[in-house]
């Protein structure tokens, strides 16, 4: 009886101490299963998975398979010097690439400018601080003949596999986005930055139509919500 009374007195203090999150303590939850659920969820895993590699719940796609609508992710050229040389002639910008909303510029600033600088002069914050990363052959930026003479395909190849100190950006840019970035890099390289849909080549081709881009997802979401509002 005495002990129960003691516990009662102490319970609010205990709750206060356990309940307050901070440091390594996430606090307590009413229903922990709601936070760390039994089902598999992205980026939420307490125990090591015994079946999958690396103990992760996520699995890599089966080798040789392509997700629906992602056929353009397939890239035939190998990550070798030979592949790089072949990319100059065998890979080219798809016709019908439209970038009405300056997506290329947005992506360039997001993914390229930390190193290559907002204006493509290799003066991004990272290159400023770690100048040893700067490409030796064209340290002054995209206006260098080195980039001007580079084929679109070679830039694409570099985005897919990386080159020298630059890593692969295939995991963060969809194929369409890669081409949008390349189109913008070309603008920076030629010194006539005009970001009002001027990179539209033509609109007949539907070669990239199967790719699900961020814009597609957005317009899909927006359509459904707009309908809700109207009805």
């Amino acid at each position: 009886m005495k002990n129960i009374k003691k516990l009662l007195y102490l319970s609010p203090i205990a709750l206060l101490m356990v309940g307050c999150a901070g440091g390594n303590n996430p606090g307590i939850e009413y229903a922990p299963d709601m936070y760390d659920s039994k089902g598999y969820e992205p980026y939420n895993q307490l125990d090591s998975n015994t079946l999958n590699e690396y103990g992760a719940n996520v699995r890599r796609p089966v080798d040789g398979t392509v997700a629906l609508g992602k056929a353009d992710y397939a890239y035939a050229l190998p990550n070798t010097g030979e592949g790089y040389e072949r990319s100059a002639t065998e890979v080219s910008m798809p016709a019908g690439l439209a970038d009405a909303e300056c997506e290329g510029k947005r992506l360039y600033i997001m993914y390229c400018s930390p190193c290559h600088g907002v204006e493509g002069k290799n003066d991004g914050n990272i290159f400023k601080r770690a100048s040893y990363l700067k490409p030796g052959a064209w340290g002054d930026g995209y206006q260098n003949d080195y980039i001007k003479n580079l084929a679109d395909g070679q830039i694409y190849h570099t985005l897919v596999y990386g080159k020298n100190n630059m890593g692969s950006h295939a995991s963060v840019l969809t194929p369409t986005q890669r081409w949008q970035v390349i189109a913008y890099v070309r603008q920076l390289s030629n010194g006539n930055v005009d970001c009002d849909g001027s990179v539209v080549v033509s609109t007949d081709s539907v070669s990239m139509a199967s790719d699900v881009t961020a814009e597609d997802v957005q317009s899909e979401v927006s359509d459904s919500t707009k309908n809700e509002e109207v009805h």
């Binding site: 203090i13 709750l15 390594n24 606090g27 939850e29 009413y30 709601m34 659920s37 914050n125 961020a214």
Partner: protein, 431 residues
């Protein structure tokens, strides 16, 4: 004969100045602008290490290779082709802008002896001294503690002994004496002494108010992880990367604009920079221990042969999740980042100043609702709301309803909040 001699004389004359002029200082400067992105002197990088490269290849060959290795390979030089293959076909750039003298300067620089590392003996002495002081203090503290305990024990024993003697003198046992003292004195403490009574009353009253208050406060913290800042497996600093270097959040959390989850970057994203960057200025030539953790997880050997640096024994980095919503609530990043155009900091706080990330917002429902009620949607410059905006304008023009106008207008301007667009519907987030 004379002709040959004179030719040799002229040749030797023309060669000597070149050798004499080899300038390792200039070579160092050239090396640091042209070569350093792919080559290091003592470690293999993108290309092979270059210290004493002249012992492997002769100058003539190196000149041709450095200035235009592509042409050189095309000319069919066997060693050029094998060199290319040996280095994972990483084509070296063409350096046509470098003169022969420049290249020889660079080669002279590669011939220099490595700087002798500063002896660690200097630093070992203070460390020893520090340890010594620390241990000495610990021993002194321990001795003092033991002395205190012994003295306390002696004092206690002596006191008991004295009381026993007093009790025996009065003709009772020690236990009886102790009990009778309490029975004689307890009224003084509880009822008779007014100070103690008042104090007890005040304490009781305070407890009556504060205990429930504490209880309420404690219970409200259940399920709220605000302030949670767990130790992560790699001490990644958002302050350095997002703050000082100004890298966009979405460089790493790249799916935030088109996925439910903002995504934890896989290690290849780290390697985009950390293949080259192996530490800060403070680390010197050593690999930063936190960056070494990336390499360990990838089984990456930064000094390995190009193309064979990644080993097979990879491990997952087990990041600790901080922001976690219960399954009963649905949240989608793309809706807020891409459509709503919110900045990451509006919910996650000053991430760019956080050395270690903590949960800034409470993530409680009231917090969501507050924002959904008050946040103005920028309908004018957002394609997503084109239809909504048009329909609102059309309605406003066709229906002359004061109530309707009151809902959508503030100071003559259309104001739309998420709550007007279904942002308070239960089933939007709970389904």
């Amino acid at each position: 004969m004379l002709k040959t001699l004179s030719l040799i004389f002229i040749l030797s004359f023309s060669f000597t100045p070149v050798i004499a002029q080899e300038n390792a200082e200039n070579g160092k400067a050239l090396f640091e602008t042209n070569c350093v992105s792919c080559h290091k002197l003592d470690k293999p990088s993108i290309g092979p290490k270059l210290r004493k490269i002249r012992s492997k290849y002769e100058d003539e060959w190196l000149l041709k290779w450095i200035k235009n290795n592509v042409e050189f390979r095309k000319s069919g030089d066997e060693r050029a082709i094998t060199t290319y293959e040996e280095n994972n076909q990483a084509a070296m750039n063409i350096f046509a802008n470098l003169t022969d003298a420049d290249v020889l300067d660079i080669l002279a620089y590669t011939d220099t002896e490595p700087e002798v590392a500063e002896g660690p003996a200097v630093s070992s002495e203070p460390t020893f001294f520090n340890n010594y002081t620390k241990y000495l203090l610990m021993i002194v503290a321990l001795v003092l503690l033991i002395t205190f305990l012994i003295l306390f024990r002696i004092f206690k024993e002596l006191r008991t002994l004295r009381r026993k003697q007093e009790a025996e003198a009065n003709g009772v046992t020690y236990e009886q004496a102790a009990q009778s003292w309490w029975s004689k004195n307890k009224e003084k403490f509880i009822i008779v002494n007014p100070t103690i009574t008042v104090l007890a009353g005040v304490t009781g009253f305070a407890a009556l108010i504060f205990v429930p208050w504490f209880f309420w406060f404690g219970i409200n913290k259940v399920g709220v992880q605000q302030g949670y800042a767990p130790e992560q497996p790699i001490a990644y600093s958002h302050k350095l990367h997002a703050g000082e270097l100004g890298i966009d959040c979405q460089y790493c959390h790249s799916t935030a604009s088109y996925s439910k989850s903002a995504s934890i970057p896989s290690l290849n994203t780290c390697m985009n920079c950390h293949k080259g960057v192996q530490g800060t200025e403070a680390d010197g030539d050593n690999i930063n221990p936190e960056i070494a953790k990336i390499y360990a997880a990838l089984d990456y050997n930064p000094e390995g042969k190009p193309g064979e640096q990644y080993g097979p024994n990879r491990k997952a980095v087990k990041w600790v999740r901080i922001h976690n919503l219960p399954d009963l609530a649905y949240f989608n990043h793309s809706q807020h980042v891409k459509v709503g155009g919110l900045q990451c900091q509006e919910c996650h706080g000053p991430i760019q100043d956080m050395e270690k990330v903590y949960q800034f917002s409470s993530l409680q429902m009231g917090w969501c609702i507050d924002c959904h009620r008050s946040k103005k949607i920028d309908v004018e410059n957002n394609n997503y709301y084109e239809k909504l905006h048009a329909s609102v304008k059309k309605k406003l023009n066709s229906v002359d309803s004061a109530e309707y106008k009151k809902q959508y207008f503030k100071d003559g301007k259309i104001v739309i909040t998420p709550s007007m667009n279904g942002g308070l519907e239960c089933a939007k987030c709970h389904y």
